[in-house]
Symmetry: C2
Subunit: 328 residues, 2 copies
Amino acid sequence: MSIRIGILGYGNLGRGVECAIKQNNDISLAAVFTRRDPSEVEILTEGVKVYSVNDIEAHKNEIDVMILCGGSATDLPEQTPEYVKYFNVIDSFDTHAKIPEHFMAVDAEAKANGHVGIISVGWDPGMFSLNRLYANAILTDGNDYTFWGRGVSQGHSDAVRRIDGVKDARQYTVPVEKALESVRNGENPELSTREKHMRECYVVAEEGADLKRIENEIKTMPNYFADYDTTVHFISEDELLANHAGIPHGGSVIRTGRTGWNGEHKHVIEYSLKLDSNPEFTSSVLIAYARAAYQMNKEGQTGCKTVFDVAPAYLCSQSGEELRKNLL
Amino acid sequence: MSIRIGILGYGNLGRGVECAIKQNNDISLAAVFTRRDPSEVEILTEGVKVYSVNDIEAHKNEIDVMILCGGSATDLPEQTPEYVKYFNVIDSFDTHAKIPEHFMAVDAEAKANGHVGIISVGWDPGMFSLNRLYANAILTDGNDYTFWGRGVSQGHSDAVRRIDGVKDARQYTVPVEKALESVRNGENPELSTREKHMRECYVVAEEGADLKRIENEIKTMPNYFADYDTTVHFISEDELLANHAGIPHGGSVIRTGRTGWNGEHKHVIEYSLKLDSNPEFTSSVLIAYARAAYQMNKEGQTGCKTVFDVAPAYLCSQSGEELRKNLL
């Protein structure tokens, strides 16, 4: 019998979860829930139904884990504490500063209703967080660095699109190679925002728009671009579609530290990702943690968890014996 | 109150553990146990006693976790099941093929005596295993690669030292850059032993020894060198001491895989280590898992565990709240 997954929200992430389910034999898609008119949502998996989110509670006995694919700004703060009443849930809540309060809200409802809710699953927060934790536990005396990219930032792309005269845009976050090298060499540099990342914008302008003004508005935009070295490339709509349609991302978590009676030895731990599809990779992490949520709940655990609370073996379908034999 | 650690075996690893304890405020060294005459073992930590291993049982109430720093060939298969009767224990058992039987032996005694024993802790097995597991859980459809080095292999150095006419030697395992690049590019190459690693030997020969014969004996030695491209450099004893006294190591665990409805997107996950001191880094991992063993046993858990069974949060002294706030 396979673990039955529900997907709430069928955008890039929901579709990614659907694809990831196809790659895991012990997991099946039970249903998709949407805020749109279900008849207008076409999914990839044959024979699986799309329902209105309003009917979600009626399906609580058909679903082992509900994966919440909404956004962190307004969806998840409401959805996760609400739906953990009826289901084990997984979300990818990524507003770092608000994780503590989100955790508390989910924990209360999860415990009151006997479910497991694993929040902030993905790669950052998620796999990057895990690697920060492991590296900090090992190298007590050290420095942490996180570099993002080269990859598409949806938030920054949206910010450029909101500028008057911009028809479409894509923004890439790019780590500064010199800074990366210095960190990897264990030089422990102190790096400003500008020294760590650059921003590259590919912009399709409306016909007749003032390109100088657009470029200036981008480069001086507070929070988003003003603190970075930003380059702006004006391209045609065709070129945007041909060369910038993907959603790649990635990055590196690096910790450098010292050991020895007098700190005489240096060490560098690096975890890095190169992803062709940010939402599909995130979805694959969500599915692994859905497996964990199901198992942990079956064993009687309840409450809110993060990747820090999940023993790695729960993520795999193999037995402990198989894992020790094949992966240890 | 700090977690009281005992060290059994005071070689490179035992001394590394002693250094790591100094870097962790919540952990203290209670005693060192040795098979040698204790009066001949001088340790770094002031005020801590060295005892004979024969008296170890008498100290069972003074020690929260015993770290076993013996070798995998003959020491640990006997020591870990024996001492888990009296203590929570950590070992770095690294004979991959014998892990299942070692696990069973330790598990039986750990459960019978109410202790936790965490085996095969370090970086391979250990952190590399963890990264193999996480990457496999996420990218179900993919390929695994492990590269070791550039670093000193004690086993290969010893093998060279046993050759007639060799006074001293150091062997470095070196990953083949071209193979690494191909893997990192997601080309999924099938690599032979020779294509993955090279072996570099620095040899101090006895006066008048036949260098040609030594070089030939090294390069044709079955299992150790015959399957590799090996280079042999004859150097003076002074040069060996000046340039090859350290025990650096490292390596990379890489998994490449595909996601998407038709496997249309590629991903690369890489975890890599650059270590100035192999035993000190391993020791730092041992200490983090000693903290976990102590906590897990305090919560009532018993039995044999590996890194796969330990939720990451147990490795840190900070509370769940602090970890979520600072590292998630």
